[in-house]
């Protein structure tokens, strides 16, 4: 425990301390500020004065003191006649004697930060700060926005919580599945944001992906029986395992089939595959589990040629039934092409083309280009690569697609 790096320890304790405080105090925003102040105090004092015996209790005490002095200042500003004694009595009136398990508080916090009353950008920001224990500056770097912008997003989220009367409690059995789905989606968005905001070693890398994985691990520890939580953690591990192989030394994109599989993180693949292997078939399958199972099949193929496309196609079909969406259709088209030839795939791509989804159009062209090339229609493939390049908003992807088009001249 004492060997653990200070920042890791603080971030692990952050949601526990905030949870304990928010459980007994009504003003969540003030609690959150107080915990951030306590974390800052710890990161300054502990390296000098040594780590306290009970780190969690130390943080809770300091956060509590910060909170009460903030309340006192605020109260004094509003009604100067309020006596300190009365305030002190009120302070301790709500404090329960028994400490709940730290895990429960973290889960409650997650549900609160991912409340449907908040916009998705606010949910992401608040989750990273309140549950992840990241500073506003770190979160801002991760999303590549100025700190002031992120600070506003967080304070807006906190004032929405106050205004809409969101309470610090676990959702009822009835609403729980829906609420958990939002939590999973927020963690997934943090994970994908990490991918889109980082490119090679040149950019400062705030590891949003690692943070998403860490939070998913915590959630999995709290809800080990939930198949979708397990599925999401597995999906993240399996996707992130390929990270280093996704770009070459020059930062150019390398497609899955051409990746150096020895550069994959096989420990992470093994862990992800084991997680999904143990879950699949024991509970009702959900979208994250299916996607993780597909990622595991890719991860376990020794070479691109060894890929079990029949199994992958079957899984995409299940996914398409569970949660129909054009992206799944496109993936299904690729699997069909690998099994039955490019024309089978192109027929499926044609079906997706009518959806008019702007954010997907570059992917549709890219898949079409790839399948046309497989079919030997080079001019058509080249035109489709160019269209895809024009429509993508990712720089490495654009370069890759232009390169593919150039290769065919």
């Amino acid at each position: 425990m004492t060997d653990q790096p200070l920042q890791d320890l603080l971030r692990e304790l952050a949601p526990q301390v905030l949870g304990a405080l928010a459980r007994r105090e009504s003003d969540f925003a003030a609690c959150e500020d107080a915990v951030q102040e306590a974390l800052l105090a710890a990161s300054q004092q502990w390296p000098v004065e040594g780590r306290p015996e009970n780190a969690r209790a130390w943080l809770l005490t300091v956060a509590q003191r910060k909170l009460y002095s903030a309340i006192r200042t605020e109260t004094a500003r509003r009604t100067r006649e309020v006596r300190d004694a009365a305030l002190t009595a009120a302070m301790y009136a709500g404090a329960p004697d028994e400490e709940p398990a730290a895990g429960d508080d973290t889960l409650t916090l997650l549900f609160m930060c991912c409340h449907p009353a908040l916009s998705p950008p606010s949910q992401l920001a608040l989750t990273l700060r309140a549950v992840g224990g990241m500073t506003t500056a770190e979160i801002a770097r991760g999303f590549m926005v100025p700190e002031a912008t992120m600070a506003q997003r967080i304070s807006r989220a906190k004032s929405r919580i106050k205004a809409t009367g969101v309470r610090f409690r676990i959702p009822s059995e009835m609403e729980r599945p829906d609420r958990l789905r939002v939590v999973l989606h927020v963690l997934y968005l943090i994970f994908t944001e990490g991918h889109t905001s980082t490119a090679g070693p040149s950019l400062q890398r705030v590891e949003l992906t690692s943070e998403a994985i860490r939070l998913a691990r915590i959630l999995h520890r709290l809800l080990p029986e939930d198949g979708e939580v397990t599925g999401l953690l597995a999906l993240m591990l399996l996707t992130d395992a390929r990270r280093d192989a996704r770009t070459d030394t020059a930062g150019a994109l390398v497609p899955l089939a051409d990746q150096d599989r020895s550069a994959w993180d096989h420990v992470a693949i093994e862990e992800g595959a084991a997680l999904i292997g143990a879950t699949l078939g024991t509970v009702a399958a959900g979208p994250y589990q299916i996607q993780a199972a597909i990622a595991a099949l890719h991860g376990e193929a020794k070479t691109a040629a060894d890929t079990d496309w029949a199994q992958i196609r079957a899984l995409y079909r299940v996914l398409d039934e569970l949660a129909p969406n054009p992206m799944t259709r496109l993936n299904l088209a690729v699997a069909a092409a690998m099994l039955d030839g490019p024309n089978a795939g192109l027929a499926l791509v044609a079906e997706v083309e009518g959806t008019g989804d702007l954010d997907l159009s570059h992917r549709i062209y890219a898949v079409r280009a790839h399948l046309l090339e497989m079919a030997g229609h080079f001019p058509g493939a080249q035109a489709a690569y160019r269209q895809a390049a024009q429509l993508t908003k990712s720089l490495p992807e654009q370069r890759y697609l232009e390169q593919q088009a150039g290769r065919l001249t």
Binding site: S122, A125, Q152, T196, T198, L203, P396, E397
Partner: protein, 116 residues
């Protein structure tokens, strides 16, 4: 997702801007700031103050004035970080219509790749 909102001045708006219009624009900016969607906002000086660096066979040559001699010049820009294209367009549509002839909403490229 980040978007550059390019505001093209309405003809002669700089001479005719009213305090009410300025207030309207400031209110919208204040709202975007509060919601955490505003990355930055800048007004540009008069187009007459533009210096254009042209490249003739990769050799730079500096001339006075904007590149294009058109009536519609960019008067300012807003950088937004919003949830969707629709949201960016909705924000642009709320700009006071009398100060602009048109607004272009253009997505930024991101430096990383999408996962998968």
């Amino acid at each position: 997702m980040k978007y550059l909102v390019m505001l093209y001045d309405a003809p002669n708006i700089r001479e005719n801007i009213s305090p009410e219009l300025i207030e309207q624009m400031q209110a919208l900016i204040g709202e975007l700031e509060a919601s955490g969607e505003l990355v930055s906002v800048e007004a540009l000086a008069d187009p007459a103050q533009t210096q254009t660096v042209r490249f003739d066979q990769q050799v730079p040559a500096v001339t006075d004035g904007p590149y294009a001699e058109v009536k519609e010049q960019m008067g300012g820009f807003i950088l937004l970080d919003v949830e969707s294209t629709q949201r960016a367009v909705d924000i642009a549509s709320r700009w006071p219509g009398s100060v602009v002839s048109a607004i272009e909403v253009r997505p930024l490229m991101n430096p990383g790749a999408d996962p998968q």
